[in-house]
């Protein structure tokens, strides 16, 4: 080694541990736990393992509010991803992961490696990945220099998701994108993975049984994504450039080979346990596997395949190189694993073994590089109960009126403008870059409420959706949290799926600020309430904090991924109208609720007031009623009302041929009726014969139900209390809606 690492004393006296993510107090407790001062590698290991990302030290107390159990849950939070039974001996595995900061720096690779990472979480559980979804947030697309950077980020994030997902051969079937000023400096990129396994293929990540071989599988280790390594730069001279951490680059080709090799290894029975190397790479996988198994692990770092020269133990342990897994083999079965990996051209080498003593022991260049008690590393993480304060500004904003303008004269014009805002415009520019059909199981494509993917070998399908409206959360975190859960579940219901469980991604600012922690606490409590009420266990999720630029936090942005089961493929529905003459029903109650809505934002350039209310009992009734009627074959199409309200739901249910003729009557203002975002509403189209059955069924479920018009060919007409308020040729509106994002992306300078 030609560079000298700081000594244990220097780490303490120069407070080098701070650059590795430990504060003074945490460092002291490390010293106390070890009974000595840690060396650089050891300090790095504590730094990452005690980071929010790995330890949830700021969010743990809140996450315990979530209901996590249910009759179908096979694996709740804790392992790589949650697992839920879907009958016939199969189970579904799913989880959300964030890649916000990497995507802000290198959008293509940041997003690509986000997809790669979530897929490894899925197949490390033993499942074959069957779909990915994504939830994206950016600043506004149109305008100035900042918007130009935003268009660059947006374009490259989408290309990165496409580049990885398309190549690895997992369909990207859905997602959401929102645009708001608050995300300009800190875009959000969350990816959700979904997989299917047979119960007997479920893998775990516990290293048990001393003497078992620990096998490193996959791409070699480089200096990728090593954080907190800045300490080195002052002390280095000619090497310093070479030592700078490199951006992680995804290799979906290796990812594909890795999936196939892993699935084949699982089949062989030669494997005891497995964990993917995600955040904090080898450190996290080796310590967690052995800690969970109540064992220790000894690794010889010289055996770790390395891409860069002269890597230090610190660098090897903290590298976040992609496409790597850690296996613990069944005794005597190592060769089988090697031969399967060789067939797929995936490197695999034994790098150590499981040991009795509960420590992580690292050897490098013939010397001990680290020896750490796993109880200290994994079992003693600090937990913080942060302070929480309701900010005055929130209370004031809530008191503002949600509606302080007159009814616009020409609502057709307003509607045309609204459907061209990137927020509400069609996202086809995005999802046409994704191969959403590969594996030929996608029966409802992106563009409808929830995507539907068939489960091979059964007559069942899975409906899946990811949603979250951060404007509601910003105005009132608790209500916003409830709405996010309800919307995701409602989307799944609209495709005919019975929601099974959810996964969530919590994207917030700095939790050390009391007003941010308050948002987090309220949102989580709202989400938990909704989950409990709707019987939706939370089987996994992700927390991404510190999403701020120059002290300004993004809107509190919880996103919810829901997965539902369709017991019989025949009852799969989409939001699209099928036949002219079919009858339109609006279910649920419309109120004057524009706070945080798309229409308010367009009219005033800001948001204010309270978000729409959510009555969980009404929500449950609605979901049950719709699901029941889909199963009875009474429903042709079903579409959840969300951003943009009824008018948007009507437009987005239309197809090239099928339009609407709608007659509305109400005491509310016409713009309120068109654009209100009241919750717990669904638009149905049903054939004429089923009309009365729907009406009586809804009565039974106590769901408000109004017949509002019909599906007609090629027109789009809405009248209100006897006056036509929106009328246009259907194709004109659809073109505006469909091309708005492409126009922004292609023709803005």
């Amino acid at each position: 080694m030609h560079t000298t690492e700081p000594t244990n004393d220097q780490i303490q006296s120069e407070k080098i541990y701070r650059q590795m993510g430990l504060n003074d107090e945490e460092y002291s407790s490390v010293v106390e736990l070890l009974g000595r001062k840690p060396n650089l590698t050891e300090t790095g290991i504590f730094g990452v393992m005690w980071s929010e990302h790995c330890s949830y030290k700021n969010s743990k107390p809140l996450l315990s509010l979530f209901p996590v159990d249910g009759p179908d849950v096979l694996q709740g939070p804790g392992e790589g991803a949650g697992v839920v039974d879907i009958g016939d001996g199969y189970a579904v595995v799913f989880k959300v992961e964030s890649h916000n900061h990497p995507s802000a720096i290198e959008p293509y690779q940041g997003a690509a490696t986000g997809v790669g990472g979530i897929l490894r979480d899925i197949f490390s559980m033993g499942a074959r990945p069957i779909a990915v979804l994504n939830s994206l947030r950016f600043g506004p697309l149109s305008g100035n220099a900042a918007a130009k950077r935003t268009r660059y980020l947006f374009g490259h994030v989408v290309a990165g998701i496409a580049g990885y997902g398309n190549c690895i051969g997992v369909p990207t079937v859905g997602g959401e994108v929102c645009f708001d000023q608050c995300y300009t400096g800190n875009p959000l990129v969350n990816a959700m993975g979904v997989g299917v396994l047979r119960h007997d293929q479920l893998q775990h990540g516990r290293a048990e049984g001393a003497g078992k071989s620990v096998i490193y599988v996959g791409a070699s280790t480089g200096r990728d994504g090593i954080h907190g390594a800045t300490f080195a730069s002052e002390e280095l001279n000619e090497d310093s450039d070479e030592k700078r951490p490199a951006v992680q680059v995804g290799d979906p080709f290796m990812g594909k080979l890795l999936i196939e090799a892993c699935l084949e290894v699982y089949q062989s029975g030669a494997l005891y346990s497995v964990q993917d190397m995600g955040a904090a790479g080898l450190t996290c996988s080796s310590t967690e596997m052995s800690y969970k198994g109540g064992m220790g692990m000894e690794l010889n770092l010289d055996l770790v395949p390395q891409r860069a020269e002269n890597m230090s133990a610190y660098e090897i342990m903290l590298s976040e190189s992609q496409e790597r897994m850690l296996f613990v083999a069944n005794p005597g079965r190592e060769e089988e694993i090697f031969s399967i990996c060789k067939k797929w051209d995936v490197p695999a080498v034994t790098v150590g073994q499981v040991i009795e003593e509960p420590v992580l022991r690292l050897n490098h260049h013939g010397v001990a590089a680290a020896e750490l008690s796993l109880v200290a590393v994994c079992g003693s993480t600090p937990v913080y109960q942060r302070e929480s304060i309701i900010p005055e500004t929130v209370l004031n904003r809530q008191k503002e009126s949600g509606l302080d303008w007159d009814v616009p004269e020409d609502l057709t014009d307003v509607f045309k403008l609204l459907i061209q805002t990137p927020e509400l415009a069609s996202k086809s520019w995005v999802y046409q870059q994704y191969d959403f059909m590969v594996r030929t199981n996608t029966s409802v494509r992106p563009g409808s409420d929830a995507a539907v993917v068939r489960v091979e070998g059964t007559n069942k399908s899975l409906a899946m959706s990811i949603d979250g409206n951060s404007r509601y959360v910003f105005l009132d975190p608790k209500t916003g949290g409830r709405c996010a859960v309800a919307e995701a579940a409602r989307n799944v219901v609209c495709s005919g799926g019975r929601p099974l469980a959810i996964t969530d991604g919590l994207n917030f600012g700095n939790p050390e600020k009391p007003e941010i922690f308050w948002q987090l606490e309220q949102a989580v409590s709202g989400m938990s309430e909704a989950c409990s009420y709707l019987n939706l266990p939370v089987v996994g999720g992700n927390v991404s904090l510190y999403n701020e630029t120059e002290g300004e936090a993004v809107y509190p942005t919880p996103v919810v991924g829901a997965v539902g089961l369709i017991e019989d493929n025949a009852y799969t529905t989409s939001q699209f109208f099928q036949k002219s003459g079919d009858v339109l029903f609006l279910l649920g109650e419309t109120k004057e609720e524009l706070g945080g809505g798309a229409y308010q934002q367009m009219q005033t350039g800001k948001i204010s007031g309270m978000p729409p209310e959510l009555d969980l009992e009404k929500e449950r009734q609605l979901q049950q009623a719709v699901l029941e009627n889909i199963r009875r074959g009474n429903v042709v199409s079903a579409h959840d009302l969300s951003h943009g309200g009824l008018s948007l739901a009507l437009l987005t249910s239309c197809t090239e041929q099928m339009g609407i003729s709608v007659v509305l009557k109400s005491d509310l203002r016409p713009d309120v009726v068109l654009f209100s975002e009241s919750q717990s509403r669904i638009l149905l189209s049903v054939s004429e014969e089923k009309e009365s059955e729907i009406v009586s069924s809804m009565l039974q479920y106590k769901v408000p139900c109004v017949q509002i018009g019909k599906v007609v060919k090629e027109r789009f007409e809405i009248s209100f209390n006897g006056t036509k308020i929106i009328y246009s040729e259907l194709n004109l509106l659809r073109d505006l809606w469909q091309n708005a994002i492409a126009m922004e992306m292609e023709f803005s300078v």
């Binding site: 190549c167 080709f253 797929w344 870059q433 191969d435 059909m437 590969v438 594996r439 030929t440």
Partner: protein
């Protein structure tokens, strides 16, 4: 029974789709064959699946066109075995020279996944005879980033003169390909390369069943 081999290259990802599609056609039996195989003996047809063989490094299909199985594939093509390359399979066929021309980056520079309208230009070859019954306007899915077919003018003339253009995009050309070409055959008509995915259009629930006719035509070859 018609025996088909679905070649699996490292990075193929439509191999199982093609396998399922072929096996769903009565009288057709498909099995997987690893890219290192040296013989294609006993197969009536060889199917090259879509995906990203070798990660599409360098150029789509370039590295796969050097794989061991390609020698046997050339012999099979010579001896009249039916060879169908879909998407990445088409790219491999042009890279290895079994079909003329080249496929380069979509003119819009983006990957595109959609269902498109196609005209079946030549319904006389074994792959397309079933479309002769009036079904010449069909809908098939596409999903590619490098489907922009190009060749020199001489080659284009030959393709036209010999009726080797089998599919053309009708209406909107999604990738800028020369003369709207979506699929071509060799001069004998036993090798077909196409960007659209017939194996993704085998039933109405998939959005179209127009792809099934292609497999059925092949099955019914005279």
């Amino acid at each position: 029974m018609m025996r088909c081999a679905v070649i699996v290259f490292p990075g193929s990802n439509c191999d199982s789709d093609l396998y399922k599609a072929a096996n769903s056609v009565e009288g057709m039996e498909a099995e997987y064959l690893w890219y290192t195989s040296e013989s294609l003996e006993g197969y009536d047809a060889v199917l090259l699946p879509g995906g990203f063989s070798y990660g599409d490094a360098l150029r789509a299909g370039a590295l796969a066109s050097q794989a061991p199985v390609l020698k046997a594939l050339r012999r099979a093509a010579d001896s009249g075995v039916y060879i169908l390359g879909i998407c990445n399979g088409f790219q491999i066929l042009t890279e290895c020279g079994l079909l003329p021309g080249a496929l380069h980056r979509n003119s819009g520079l983006r990957f595109i996944c959609d269902t498109v309208n196609l005209e079946v230009v030549n319904t006389d070859i074994c792959f397309t005879s079933g479309y002769s019954r009036g079904a010449k306007q069909i809908r098939l899915p596409i999903a590619h980033g490098e489907g922009n077919y190009t060749c020199d003018t001489d080659t284009l003339r030959k393709l036209e003169d010999n009726a080797q253009i089998v599919f053309r995009y009708s209406g909107n050309n999604p990738n800028g390909s020369l003369a709207g070409i979506a699929g071509i055959s060799n001069s004998k008509g036993n090798v077909l390369g196409m960007m659209p995915h017939p194996e993704r259009a085998m039933a109405e629930w998939m959005g179209s069943s127009d792809g099934r006719i292609l497999f059925e035509s092949l099955m019914m070859r005279t």
